[in-house]
Amino acid sequence: MNDLTSFGNLFKQIWVQKSRYIYLFFIINLFTIVFISLFAWGTGNYDLTFFYTSTHNLGNFWRYNIATLTIYFDIAFFAVTCWQNEKINMSQTWHLAAADEGKTYLANVFSSLLACGVFFLLQQIVNIFLLIPTMGANSIAEAFSQFGLSPYTPNVPGINVSFEFYWLFIVLIILFIYFFVSFTNFSSRIISDELPVKSTLWIRLLIIAILVIVAVYVGSIVFSHLQNFVDTNRSLQTYDPIWLDDILLLVMSLVFGLCDILFVKKWVEPKIVNR
């Protein structure tokens, strides 16, 4: 039992459980690429509603559409990892592991983050191969620069100096949403346990909706104020101000992360029926 309680072992065990979904989603992703390509090539119609190309051939079709496709699958995969996180957070089996609750929670979140990273990397490897017909040797830079993640963009002079901040931005936004989803889950459970009425799914959905509405509203106000601040400040505009969003997200992630660790230590009880 003792060897499971170290952070590394916890991480590894949770990772094994989650890595299955990486391969599942990667198979679905590959199938979609093959199916759409065959469909477009077979019918000679390269404008498939979501996917658009100016020149009608397969190479260009890939070049203009892989980023869209990658993002759709990333969002779907991200949603599944959120669900997996909460499943582990609420599982009695995982709470029986003789480790600090906060440590289990952090191992859970970071293993999901790593799963997102591995999934994105697998997708990018496929994307690089698909870009070879149009971009040749530039395909690696092109695959990453479509997401703003490369210092060098093909056919565009200059260097994208703030590309590290885009990487950081993606990592931070994933962490922030994980922490926020856990926060909503935990606090809805705590509140519905405290209420005098029976704790049903109905009440929990109501509490979750209220929390999400408040958070989205406050978030929209904060981000538009930030945008106004950047728009009126000349010195900020000389440099890509994405680092401002990074700082904001970092602070919010820390706040929600600490709340979550507090919640798992003090209040949250795992469910008996795990689904």
């Binding site: 299955r20 979904y21 599942l24 198979i27 679905i28 199938f31 979609t32 199916f35 759409i36 469909f39 019918t43 119609n45 498939l48 509603t49 109905w202 959905l205 109501l206 909706a209 209220i210 509405i213 408040v214 509203y217 929209s220 106000i221 981000f223 538009s224 104020h225 106004n228 689904r275």
Partner: protein, 280 residues
Amino acid sequence: MTSNKALFKQMFLQKRHYADLVLLIQTFAVAFMFLMGIIFKGNGNSVNNMASGIFRNDNIWDLILGLGTLTTFFADVIFLGLMCWQNEKINLSQTWQLIPASGSKIWIINIISSIVECAYIFVIQVVIGMIVVIIDSYSHNINPFVGTSFGANISFGETVWAFVEELLALVGLVLIIFAFVSLTNFLTRTIADQLPMKNTTGVRLVVMAILVIVGVIIALRINDQILTMYTNHLFTRANKAIDVDTLGISTLEYWIGAILLGIINCLLIQKFVEPKIVNR
């Protein structure tokens, strides 16, 4: 209990909890955004800007009307999702399948009760919206009951037809979504049962994703083809007065699609689908 009416009533009552939930959440959302919108005025408030983009932003009634319209859209989409989930929950529930009625009858009543549920939530939203519109018009010193304030200059018959067509389109869209979700669910279960490997969530997920992707792309392609045919048909008669009505074509597509998928669903539920023991 096996009469259509009793079945319908029980399903309706079960699903009405969720209609009430969505309406309650929407009320909270409008009240919250309204209060915050009054406190935090100005350019920094993107929700206020969006709400005033729908109507003007002269007084508080405009803000309420704008927020209500904005949230109605989201509430209805979320409610549609909840209804799909409830449909599938009933379709796979052992308790419901124990009822001495044929599987396809239960499925049809299930879908109809969901449609009525959607009508229920929509009528409440529209009635409340109408009341706010009337108050808002008076606050701008406009009499809402004078016909010209809507700028309508078309005959009564045309107005009624346009209204009926829009309603039919909405109902058809909801029907085909319900039917497609059920079809995906049933087909996934049927296929996953036949596969040689163990029937796990993972296998079901892959089968489901493949079905959805293939289904959606083929549907979009068919839609494209029919619209092209319709446009060509209009061009050949370009010398006559033409009345372009793409909404009508879409409505027809939705209804034909929904009926076809519905027949397949009835067959599947009779022959292959087995309810689960653990119901969640």
